[in-house]
């Protein structure tokens, strides 16, 4: 009797243990990144290892190039490199909790707008000391991408690849049909709106603005603000300046685009605007330089041109950077090796093959654009002058307030001046919290 009971208890205990073990191994599966990094610290004379979290590649060529680059790095430094790739949304939602929990990869691939947040929380280390000891120079990279990797006068993340919001795509056939010169895309805001008026007829429209829940619209309005001679933030990073004259004019220009846009553009986003363009409903659209791939697949026969973003009277044509930078986890036990890897993956040679967007290294970018894009000079020019979004820690909340202001103006609820004033007050509260 007793034996039977013991047997039953044992069975149950085993069951529980098996379950717990199951949970345990599940955990270590997701957190596997940290263990090799931290364990190898003890026996560093042997092989060091690096863990890198990056974005999943749709293009297998890039993936292959990344793997090959990692392999030759392993041979050169007698190290083990483990690359884990995520889709963007997962990288975004997994990286921060992992790093905040003292784990995560040695090297982080950060969207430019995340850098300030990680830097403020001290989850990544300043790279100025490493910089001083190496041949990496800010001039080798696009200015704006470099700026986006800095926070409070320190550099925290080295630019890996970049994209610019945006360039102007225009349909040459529709230009001809409207009596416009297809080789003369509009240069200024005024020309853009005038040409747009001429193109708006017979159920077709000049362009389409948007203000749906996406950040691209803020990239463009930020760009127009800087193009008009304005600034986004003051030097201290504690005061937003979008409510000054250039910002108001920029937002007003975006809202004025409604005159040449199909009705109901407030709820749309950049993809909707691109779809309108590729389906021939609008004659112009603003989009990142990678939009060429979209046009190639959706409207392969379209006769289109790419031009710089229109500029305000007396201003410049300026875009806003997007893209990714590489940073080192503050908890990494192999920071020196991580730095070597960052140098390695941002040098000219490697950049040509392993980036998913345009390389951040200027020399590599030039070659990359010549090879892969039409109108490479236009894009290169747009990248050289592009600005970057405010590098403050609570940028996402700030971008959201900006977006609300844009929506208020486009729905006619408020004037650009009032809406931006209201937004600026709230943003300044956030910046000084």
């Amino acid at each position: 009797m007793d034996l039977k009971r013991v047997g039953q208890m044992l069975l149950v205990t085993c069951l529980i243990l098996v379950m717990l073990a199951g949970c345990g191994s599940g955990n270590s599966g997701s957190g596997k990144s940290s263990s090799p990094g931290s364990s190898s610290g003890g026996d560093s004379k042997k092989q060091q290892s690096l863990v890198i979290w990056t974005l999943q590649q749709a293009d297998t060529n890039i993936q292959e190039a990344q793997e090959n680059a990692a392999k030759s790095f392993e041979e050169k430094y007698n190290a083990k490199v483990q690359i884990t790739a995520f889709p963007y949304d997962q990288l975004k939602s997994k990286l921060l909790p992992a790093v905040a929990g003292g784990e995560g990869p040695d090297i982080l691939l950060l969207d430019q707008v995340w850098v300030a947040q990680y830097a403020a929380a001290k989850y990544i280390v300043p790279l100025d000391d490493y910089m001083g000891k190496s041949e990496i120079k800010a001039e080798d990279y696009f200015d704006g991408a470099w700026g986006a990797g800095s926070f409070q006068n320190n550099i925290y993340a080295i630019p890996f690849d970049v994209g610019v919001w945006g360039v102007l795509y225009y349909n040459k056939d529709m230009f001809k049909a409207a009596g416009l010169d297809p080789e003369k895309p509009p240069l200024t805001w005024e020309e853009f709106l005038q040409d747009g008026q001429k193109l708006t007829k017979d159920g077709k429209y000049g362009a389409s603005n948007w203000a749906g829940s996406s950040e691209s619209v803020q990239c463009l309005i930020d760009a127009f603000t800087v193009a008009g001679g304005g600034k986004l933030l003051d030097e201290s990073g504690k005061k937003i300046m979008i409510n000054e004259d250039p910002g108001v004019k920029a937002l007003q220009f975006w809202a004025d685009m409604s005159k040449i846009s199909p009705p109901g553009s407030v709820g749309k986003n950049e993809e909707d605007a691109m779809t309108l363009f590729t389906s021939g409903q609008t004659a112009m659209t603003m989009y990142g330089e990678w939009g060429q791939d979209t046009i190639k697949t959706r409207a392969p026969n379209m006769n289109y041109g790419v031009a710089n973003l229109p500029k305000p009277a007396g201003g410049e044509s300026i875009g806003t950077f997007g893209g990714f930078n590489l940073a080192i986890n503050a908890n990494s036990s192999n920071k020196d090796l991580a730095w070597e890897f960052i140098k390695y993956s941002t040098n000219e040679e490697n950049q040509k093959t392993i980036t998913m967007l345009t390389p951040a290294n200027k020399k590599a970018a030039k070659e990359y654009l010549n090879q892969k894009r039409q109108f490479p000079d236009v894009i290169y020019q747009q990248l050289t002058t592009a600005t970057y979004r405010p590098n403050v820690a609570n940028y996402p909340a700030i971008a959201d307030l900006q977006l609300q202001a844009t929506q208020k103006v486009m729905t006619g609820e408020m004037s650009a001046k009032d809406a931006l004033q209201e937004a600026a007050t709230k943003i300044n509260d956030l910046l000084n919290k």
Binding site: I16, A211, P262, G267, A393, P396, Q404, Q407
Partner: protein
């Protein structure tokens, strides 16, 4: 003998309890713990701030707005889902040719994957090519390009309409089952006593299905309160935050702004809210059973 079998009983349910603890209670308590912290990373690593964090989140007017939207959303969607479901159930309870086919077709919105349904409604509401605007034009109310999802005053109405369409078949299915269990002899007796259709409905049908109806109301209210994908896909909470409800707001705070503290606070508040409503409704249901 008795103690032994009780012990064995406990041992056998232990895995279930461990599972519940690990998957439910620990995350719940962890959320509560985070909700007392300031996790805005702009001033460094998370800090313990206690209850004052809650006071701050109410002071920032956003939570009031989200709460108001949540209530409008839940009440109107749940009410109309049950109402339309009831009407549909009454109709389908009658005999007519091809009834089985209609019963199957009516279920379609409910069995459609949520995101696909929402994307379809995006097309319906499109200002330029949308079905709704062209329908209004065909009915003779004139050409126009109403931006159903981009106009702050209309957006809430639009998402509510889509949500009612998506969810009413569930209420219909449950109520139809309840209707079929109402004994026919009661109707015959009522007819002999001279009661008309309306009186039969009020005095026989409604009381007979009220138990099921309360369960349906409870379930539908909770589901609607937590219904995320329709609003997320259709408006993302916009325009000008006019359609943000608790789940979309929590999503934006946690995975948009990475402010897990504030997100946890909103989660805790909405948990308490749902808990309270459930308590009231469950009490009602018990009262009903006792009578």
């Amino acid at each position: 003998m008795k103690t032994r079998s009780t012990l064995l009983g406990y041992a056998l349910i232990a895995p279930a309890i461990v599972l519940l603890l690990v998957l439910l209670f620990i995350p719940l308590l962890y959320s509560l713990q985070i909700s007392f912290q300031d996790t805005d990373l702009s001033h460094g690593a998370p800090k313990w701030v206690g209850l004052s964090a809650y006071v701050d989140s109410w002071k920032n007017g956003e939570l009031w707005k989200v709460g108001k939207h949540s209530i409008v959303w839940t009440v109107s969607v749940a009410f109309f889902q049950v109402l339309v479901g009831l009407l549909a159930a009454l109709m389908l309870n009658r005999k007519f040719p091809l009834r089985w086919l209609v019963r199957v077709l009516v279920l379609l919105p409910w069995v459609l994957p949520g995101v696909i349904a929402a994307l379809t409604w995006r097309l319906v509401y499109d200002s330029q090519f949308g079905f709704l605007n062209s329908l209004i034009a065909k009915l003779g109310f004139g050409q126009h390009a109403t931006d159903w999802l981009g106009t702050p005053g209309l957006a809430m109405f639009s998402v509510v309409l889509a949500a009612i369409w998506k969810g009413y078949p569930f209420a219909m299915l449950m109520l139809l089952a309840a209707l079929q269990s109402v004994p026919q002899d009661q109707y015959e007796a009522a007819k002999i006593d001279g009661a008309d259709g309306w009186r039969q409905f009020i005095h026989i049908t409604l009381p007979s299905i009220s138990g099921v109806m309360k369960t349906v109301v409870l379930l539908v209210s909770i589901w609607t309160f937590n219904y995320f994908e329709m609003i997320y896909v259709l408006t993302g909470g916009g325009p000008v935050r006019s359609t943000h409800i608790a789940p979309t707001y929590i999503y934006e705070l946690s995975f948009g702004h990475f402010d897990f503290g504030e997100a946890s606070r909103v989660s805790v508040i909405s948990f308490l809210f749902i808990f309270l409503i459930s308590l009231i409704l469950i009490r009602q249901m018990h009262k009903n059973e006792r009578n």
